[in-house]
């Protein structure tokens, strides 16, 4: 038995309502038919016919009644089923509505409230819960999970913020460490402070991650600084011994050159030259190592001697031409430095020019001081090389680490230039090579003194109108004698005691006879010149005594060189 479709309900309802009428009509019709049959039936058969008709009618009646009953039942069931279907449809519609509400309204509201920080229970109770328990359950589960997620997200955010802050702090400390603390520490260490002092007085970062490497860096740097300083001091000390030895060797050699004759003179000069070069090398190293020069002069040194002292220290001294006509002198304290500086520059010039070309050194006196120009005719220096050289001689690169290989000379020049305020400039030379211009400032020059007492007395005896051109040219530039006189002429001695009544000179100790003789001559200067020129014989005889004294002394100093001359010694020198 199938449940009829709802649309067919109406169709079946009308016959349903008509149903009690139809069976009744059937019963009435059949009863009438049966009566008719019974009425028409012959009397004989009436009883049988009546029974049969009655029986048939009963059968029809029963069938009609049963079918009517069945139909009614079916109709009722149909109605029930329709109602049930209706209810189910309504229920499903409600469920759909609730679901939609849940999805579009409740869940977003719950999510929002959870995000705002309310707990899952509060959030769920704050919204209208769906009537469906399963949906309610779903909402609860969702809210719990969501709450968990939100809490998680919040803690993660906090952690992230904290981590960011920490890393920002660390970055700031690191920046301060690299920008301020470490440079200061390096400077302090270079100044000679110990690692402990530096660690104590500076503000080090609190982060152990930064502090530990910074501390170990400072300690390591302090150790290496100490090591470098110790090595430097040790080499300076060792070099000072070599320097002292070289200086004493030079003194010994000079003495031997005086003592020995021509046979060994050349060899002695060669040794002297080697020792002088050695002296330059040791001085160079000593200056770089913070030591001192091997020599110090206690008197002004004239420029000519300065140049010679400089040129004597380089290997190719014979290729250097000195052009010096000034009589200016460099003060004692700066003389050695100037000599070393010029020697390095000359060495450089000689090394970087062809071995057949000369190196010319010019000295000019200017208002700013003395200008020494060293010109070679070698290759022109490239612009970069010249810039490097300028930088090297500027003295800015004082760090030993910037030295390259064996080319130490210019670094030494730079140090000396800074020490004495000397300016050193490179420029292309008009002769094709490179020129170095060295300006010795005025304060390095000896005080200009009255040159008169320094002239040797013989010059006073010379005719006044024709002074020596060399001296006339630069009369104001003569703070010192043309050549260094180790013993400066003493202040004028009492003239009265200088000669015997006979006119012979009296030699005071420490003076050569010739000197005494010249002074005597100077005393009689007014007539001296004419006397000497007009009466040569008298002058000659008078000079003979003086000459003998000098000759005697000269023999002593020239001993060993003059074997054959000894023979002629007793002979009195002839008059001119």
């Amino acid at each position: 038995m199938s449940v009829p479709a709802p649309p067919s309900q109406h169709r079946s309802a009308k016959p349903g309502r008509a149903a009690p009428v139809v069976p009744l009509a059937v019963l009435v019709v059949t009863a009438a038919a049966a009566g008719a049959v019974a009425a028409v039936a012959p009397a004989s058969a009436r009883s049988w016919a009546l029974a049969t008709v009655l029986g048939a009618w009963l059968c029809v009646a029963v069938t009609v009644v049963v079918s009517a009953l069945l139909l009614r039942r079916a109709r009722r069931q149909n109605l029930r089923l329709g109602a049930e279907a209706q209810q189910a449809r309504a229920q499903s519609a409600q469920t759909a509505g609730e679901t939609a509400h849940l999805v579009t309204v409740t869940v977003p509201a719950v999510v929002k409230r959870l995000r705002d920080g309310t707990s899952a229970n509060d959030a769920v109770t704050g919204v209208t819960p769906p009537s469906d328990p399963q949906l309610r359950q779903l909402l609860h589960v969702f809210a719990a999970a969501m709450e968990e997620q939100v809490r998680h997200a919040v803690t993660a955010g906090a952690e992230l913020r904290q981590a960011r802050e920490e890393s920002g702090r660390a970055a700031a400390e690191l920046r301060r460490l690299t920008d301020e603390t470490l440079p200061t520490a390096v400077t302090r260490l270079r100044e000679g402070h110990s690692a402990e002092t530096v660690l104590a007085e500076l503000d080090w970062p609190g982060l152990p991650l930064l502090r530990a490497p910074a501390e170990s860096f400072v300690r390591e740097l302090a150790r290496s600084e100490r090591r470098a300083a110790a090595a430097q001091a040790a080499s300076a000390k060792a070099l000072s011994r070599v320097q002292a030895k070289a200086v004493s060797m030079l003194a010994d050699l000079r003495e031997m050159q005086e003592r020995h004759g021509e046979e060994v003179f050349g060899d002695l000069l060669k040794l002297d030259h080697s020792t002088s070069q050695l002296g330059l090398m040791t001085d160079r190293l000593a200056l770089l190592m913070g030591g001192r020069s091997s020599r110090a002069w206690n008197k002004p040194i004239v420029m000519e001697s300065i140049l010679r002292g400089a040129v004597g220290r380089i290997a190719a001294y014979q290729r250097v031409r000195l052009h010096c006509s000034t009589g200016a002198a460099v003060t004692g304290f700066a003389a050695e430095g100037v000599m070393h500086l010029l020697a390095e520059l000359m060495d450089n010039a000689a090394n970087f020019s062809p071995p057949i070309d000369e190196v010319n050194v010019y000295v000019e006196e200017r208002s700013a001081g003395i200008v020494v120009t060293i010109e070679d005719s070698g290759l022109k220096m490239a612009a970069a090389a010249m810039r490097r050289a300028e930088e090297a001689v500027s003295g800015r690169m004082t760090d030993l680490a910037t030295l390259q290989g064996t080319r130490l000379g210019l670094a030494v020049v730079g140090r000396l230039a800074v020490k004495y305020g000397i300016s050193v400039n490179f420029r292309p030379s008009s002769r094709g090579g490179t020129g170095v211009v060295v300006l010795l400032p005025r304060q390095l020059l000896a005080q200009q003194r009255d040159p008169a007492p320094r002239r040797s007395p013989a010059r006073h005896a010379a005719p006044a109108p024709e002074p020596a051109p060399a001296r006339a040219e630069l009369p104001e530039a003569r703070p010192a004698p043309p050549a260094p006189l180790p013993e400066q002429p003493a202040p004028p001695r009492p003239a009265a005691t200088e000669a015997t009544p006979n006119g012979l000179p009296v030699r005071t100790p420490g003076r050569t006879m010739a000197e005494a003789e010249r002074e005597r001559e100077q005393r009689r200067d007014p007539r001296g010149e004419t006397e000497r020129t007009t009466r040569p014989d008298t002058a000659a005889t008078r000079d003979a005594g003086a000459r003998f004294g000098a000759f005697h002394r000269g023999r002593r100093s020239g001993r060993g060189t003059t074997g054959p001359d000894d023979r002629t010694a007793p002979e009195p020198p002839a008059a001119p």
Binding site: A244, V247, A251, Q257, G261, E262, F265, G266, L269, H273, A296, W297, N298, K299, I301, E304, S305, R308, G309, G312, Y317, G332, A335, A458, R459, A461, A462, E466, A468, P469, A470, E473, P482, A483, P486, N502, T512, A514, E515, R532, A539, T541, D543, G545, R547, F548, A550, R553, G554, S557, G558, T562, D565, T568, E571, P572, P573, A574, A575, P576
Partner: protein, 117 residues
């Protein structure tokens, strides 16, 4: 060990002679030297001093003593000057004659002077 200051001269002798160590000329100790010209500007200072010194005839030994230089160096320098024609040298032997010898009175004077030295 180390002297505080140096009192000598910075010039080495080979820079004075320009590296030469042997004199080519036959100057001996008593050769008399006379300058023939005045020193000029830019001249080596030793040359200038020799020219100054030899305004009147001076023996080589005396020049050496005056310049405080070894005889060999002085001879080299004198050789330079001679080559330049700035000095003339006179060998004593050439001028040796009885007439030019000092008389006995002078010799006595010398002796007296020597005793007083």
């Amino acid at each position: 060990m180390r002297r505080p200051v140096d009192t000598g001269d910075p010039d080495r002798l080979y820079t004075v002679t320009g590296g030469r160590s042997r004199a080519d000329d036959d100057f001996d100790l008593v050769t008399l030297v006379v300058s023939e010209s005045e020193p000029t500007a830019g001249m080596q200072s030793e040359h200038a001093r020799i020219l100054d010194l030899c305004r009147h005839p001076t023996a080589v030994v005396e020049i050496a003593a005056e310049l405080k230089l070894p005889i060999t160096v002085v001879r080299i320098l004198l050789g330079d000057l001679l080559a330049m024609g700035r000095i003339t040298a006179r060998h004593p032997r050439a001028a040796q004659s009885l007439a030019s010898l000092p008389d006995s009175a002078l010799l006595k004077e010398v002796l007296h002077g020597l005793r007083n030295l």
